[in-house]
Symmetry: C2
Subunit: 321 residues, 2 copies
């Protein structure tokens, strides 16, 4: 590359060794505060999650050939237009698969065994064992969406000894061979003791957990959502939760409104965590590594995580939340 512009980066994002590595792929690198400041002769752009690049903005940069997104979602970038202009757009998929999966089991076990209460009680010198937990083993465990995180969640649930089912747009033979049973979405919700929602938000999946489906959860079901809230009919969910006959756990997504958070807060069966499911040291390191490697592989002529490649776009829509 001749000129790589990093928009809204201040240098603190990476250690020097990563910046040095990036510099080896380009003749010049500039850090700019906003898209408006990107030099006209830029051929590479590195951008952050939430960045917007429409047709007009891209048209103003005639040399532009590469946009690297420091994150998974790239909805703000007109990737169709980018493709038509031969601009490669890359993102970072799957860096947080383990982090999100381990978080899911962490919050599930925390709830099932009331660990927070047990720990704080003991810290105060009260060692009463008046607790009655239950086990993941033997539970009917339903996974909605069998992308990377869904598969990992389903397989770990199987290792815990749960009876695992899934629904996904396409059947997954590998998972079925491992003992993960395919179920119709309505049946899956209706039969499971524990349900995890692991879909990406697309026009097809938005609102997929309709009011009718919200009504199908078993009494005392545990519904875990580490994915965008837009997948669920929120109004129907709050009405159901007010009946206090099921548990809803979530890692709140940045897109959730204060109004939604405010509606969940008073409900004791809505267990909300900050947006930390993907936040692990390992995921953070892997994310940086993939981001740099995407640039390296693009420069080498073998782009990775190329969302403007048709086959990958389709695969990704089904994969990462």
């Amino acid at each position: 590359m001749k000129k790589l512009a990093c928009v809204d980066f201040d240098g603190s994002e990476f250690e020097d060794s990563y910046w040095n590595e990036l510099d080896s792929f380009t003749e010049k690198r500039v850090l700019v505060a906003t898209a408006a400041e990107v030099p006209q002769d830029t051929d590479g752009l590195l951008v952050k999650l939430g960045a917007t690049y429409n047709k007009d903005m891209m048209a103003k940069l005639p040399n532009l050939k590469y946009i690297g997104m420091l994150g998974t979602g790239f909805g703000g970038i007109d990737s169709g237009f980018a493709k038509s202009k031969g601009i490669t757009v890359t993102n970072i998929a799957d860096y947080a698969t383990e982090g999100v999966t381990e978080f899911t089991f962490g919050i599930l076990l925390e709830y099932l065994r009331d660990l927070g209460k047990a720990r704080s009680q003991a810290k105060e010198g009260n060692y009463s064992d008046d607790f009655s937990g239950s086990e993941i083993k033997g539970k009917k465990f339903g996974v909605i969406g069998l992308g990377d995180i869904g598969v990992r969640t389903a397989r770990l649930a199987l290792a815990f000894g749960a009876e695992v089912s899934y629904w996904s747009r396409n059947r997954k033979k590998d998972a079925e061979d491992a003992g993960i049973k395919y179920r119709d979405l309505d049946d899956l919700i209706n039969e499971s003791d524990i349900v995890t929602l692991n879909l990406a938000l697309t026009t097809e999946t938005e609102g997929i957990i309709t009011a009718a489906r919200v009504g199908k959860f078993k009494s005392n079901a545990i519904f875990i959502n580490p994915s965008p809230m837009e997948l669920i009919d929120f109004s129907a969910l709050t009405i159901r939760l007010k009946k206090d006959d099921m548990i809803f756990m979530l890692d709140h997504s940045d897109e959730m409104s204060e109004v939604q958070l405010g509606q969940l807060r008073p409900l004791k069966n809505a267990i909300v965590y900050p947006a930390i499911a993907y936040l692990t040291h390992e995921a953070t390191e892997l994310k940086k590594r993939i981001f740099i490697d995407n640039v390296k592989n693009y420069v080498a002529g073998t782009p990775t995580n190329n969302v403007t490649s048709t086959s990958l776009t389709a695969a990704k829509a089904e994969h990462a939340p």
Copy 2:
């Protein structure tokens, strides 16, 4: 049986259906408050955890043929003398394998992701994502003692993607075939990021985590003990913990003294839970079922969980904590 005496039972221990089932195995059943009240012509005794039956006490009951322990530990019963007199002693092993294993991963994930803090912070409306967790995947995970709970813990750690090693008195080919590596005890402690202690307390294992071994834990190691504290040199452990360079997590055993608990309480790197590792609905039900089945199988001439059978005694000493 002709007369079954239940010592220190008040009837609330089981649902009626279980009592009815027990009654079908004996001509008469009596509930007595203490061992002194056991009728002289009793041929069966049902006792609770911690019950003491020495030679003299057994000698006073000439018809005694069966002692059923409602628990795993049977140290208070002179099983050697019982055996010499043809008295069958049964206990309840392994009913809590899943409960203890799931608890272990629950408290580990709670610590690694700071879930308690995250949850309570969000409940107060603070959704800050200033958290930096780490993952079980990729960690060196050492299991000391490969009985039922140890094996289950090691296999689940493997499913999480950890690099799992074990030490046990005897090599375990099945575990090694699954990818769980054997290590010398000192090396295991010295190399592992996470160590779980899953040994039964016997004269051989008491104090097995010596002061020297306490000194071998890696800096920042996480040491989880869901087994009796007598396995560890407690004084050396508290000295090491005061250096604040490792984490110790435990499900406090009923045998721990107030003095020990009081010494751990001020240490922020000693994370103590009440004795709840084995407390799940499923384990409680399974425990009752095994207890009743032990009587049933004894009466049928095919005793189960017979701790007076030599081969089983040896196996059990290595197994259940």
